[in-house]
Symmetry: C2
Subunit: 373 residues, 2 copies
């Protein structure tokens, strides 16, 4: 069974009188957040599960908007009887701050100028994204969520939420995430940004309204990133060295191998749904993310332990974007501070993208962890 028709809702969560403070010291005087909910909030308001999406996700995590074939990006884990069981939980998913799918980001209108922010949008941190979502939860009348759940950048948000506001979080489910990117992670991120920022149509970030956008750079960035989301084994199984629509090579510079066709499609289809500046802002937040090196990290960890906030940290053995060592680092810091942690490395050949897939052991672990009240 799955969630049926849902609508994306929008709410204003910051105003000039009540701006959203950011880590940089700047504020945002107008913040709208797009979100969806699945299931019913209990009378005690104690059954909320917040889903945080990854770099290029959106609020449409489950159900459909009228076309049953176009279901949310995490529909396989959200629904009646599924691990994020909508018969028991009130599941909330919001587009993150800095995004481009309903929540305020660089393509939004700056109320002070009446024009899109562009690169005047303030640099964001993962804490800032969490800050916007904490306001959403309060707006929904929820003082403490049962759990915050996310994969990749979503897992980082879950971790930061547990560290920064443990009284608001019963538990955090941190899947295929990292508490600090490696040099190689940053390197891929840097090349993606170079591809975007060197594109002539980037125009120094002032491309909104120009009728153009850095499509070449964004497509290249997406294609490259996509390689890091799949394992070598998964690519070999899925594509190998097979040719597109042919048994034999064409010998040329056009698309010839199936894997080329697949990547090209990934790059092209991304252009219609994502904004290059959102990509820059969100990927840069990932680079700088390093919560255990923050000045108040020890205090945060102590308060998280005191609040009884639990954590599930889960990695996949074929994930080479954030391999298991990233998860182990998180586990060690939490354990050392006395935060109750469950750690699991799950076997899956699908690489980083495993967090989006219905890997049975993974779903069973999440279901069991969330069932504890």
């Amino acid at each position: 069974m799955s969630v049926g028709y849902v609508e994306t809702q929008r709410v204003v969560l910051a105003t000039p009188d009540d701006p959203l403070p950011l880590s940089s010291g700047r504020t945002l005087g107008h913040v709208e957040v797009a979100y969806e909910t699945y299931g019913e909030l209990s009378a005690a308001r104690d059954n909320a599960v917040v889903v945080c999406h990854a770099l290029t996700g959106d609020a449409h995590a489950a159900g459909h908007h009228g076309d049953e074939a176009r279901r949310g990006w995490w529909d396989n884990i959200i629904g009646p009887g599924r691990p994020l069981d909508t018969d028991r939980f009130f599941v909330v998913c919001a587009n993150l701050l800095g995004g481009c799918q309903g929540t305020t980001g660089p393509s939004s209108i700056d109320p002070e100028t009446g024009r899109p922010y562009g690169m005047d949008f303030p640099l964001l941190s993962v804490s800032d994204m969490v800050g916007a979502h904490r306001r959403l939860v309060r707006h929904l009348g929820i003082a403490r969520v049962h759990s915050v759940v996310g994969g990749s950048l979503g897992g980082m948000q879950a971790l930061s939420w547990a560290l920064e506001a443990p009284d608001e979080v019963g538990s955090a489910v941190v899947v295929a995430a990292s508490s600090r990117l490696s040099a190689q992670n940053i390197a891929f991120s840097a090349v993606a940004r170079e591809a975007i920022m060197r594109d002539p149509d980037f125009a120094g970030g002032a491309y909104y309204g120009s009728g153009r956008s850095p499509q070449t750079g964004l497509a290249v960035a997406r294609m490259m990133a996509h390689i890091t989301y799949l394992s070598e084994a998964a690519m070999s199984t899925k594509f190998g060295r097979r040719f597109q629509d042919s048994e034999t090579p064409r010998f040329g510079f056009g698309v010839d191998f199936q894997v080329e066709s697949y990547l090209k499609h990934q790059g092209e289809s991304f252009l219609s749904r994502f904004d290059a500046l959102s990509y820059l802002y969100l990927s840069r937040a990932l680079d700088y993310y390093d919560p255990f090196s923050e000045p108040d990290a020890a205090g945060q960890l102590r308060r998280t332990a005191e609040a009884g906030t639990r954590a599930l940290v889960l990695s996949f053995d074929s994930d080479w974007r954030f391999d298991t060592s990233h998860s182990v680092r998180i586990v060690r810091r939490l354990e050392h501070a006395g935060v109750p942690v469950t750690f699991r490395e799950v076997a899956s050949t699908a690489g980083h993208d495993s967090f989006l897939l219905p890997v049975p052991e993974y779903h069973a672990i999440v279901a069991a962890f969330l069932a504890v009240r």
Copy 2:
């Protein structure tokens, strides 16, 4: 000790009367090859060691051109007393066909039009590169080389030479190479080409003489490729999350992490020495390379075994571009055919680039293998 002053020489090895046949069925009616030699050819003409360079290498493998600080790219392995011992061997290194550093390639003048070939240059195979170098060896009066040695694409040339002309090759040293790229390998290659070909200054490949060239695409391609040449561990040791010229982050989209500065430098410095079309042609030859699937593979292997041609196949344990499984595949095919093979996986943290570095065990193995006459 090292090789002193050397000069790059050029020789015409194909003419309209004696064109170079290519795998595609096309021919090249004018082929010039740039090469360097180190050491002396013996009276018996039996001490030649041919060095084949990788994707972006050139003929300047050892010694210097007047500035002792600018030594050849493989100076650490070539010289008196070094593994490619110039007291014993006559070492030859040539820029490969399709290159842009003295040997005929897409930027060369097409004698039929008087203009640079551009994308009218024929698609090349690794066999074609070997074909040009076989002519060079004959030109030097050498009927059989003691050994053909190369890393990465250079190793593929060494392997193909041994398979296609075993009577001309005493042994092949195949380092950090592959007999067939994986889907992930092809994927990285495809994204690099997309970056180049989507660059507006690529102009459909007709950029020669326009005063422009796809610098953005080529720099992005090089930066991305460079990530695959280094291991994650090497990048972590070399750069970690350290900031450039600062103890603390600047928080912005400019270069901030040391690894960003390094990659940017790699991208920029590449532009002055490499041509985008050569990059396309050579990387595409890598994609299509699959010698053991050629129709005559069984016959080639049999003749290689009969000729007594030996092979050293060597991989590095931290190489994730061509990991050890690529080398093992080559070893199995050669062994199965009765070709004498020595296989070694060498420990090195430097990733694919290890083949360029003076890793002691690696150099000792190569020296010992070459010493056998």
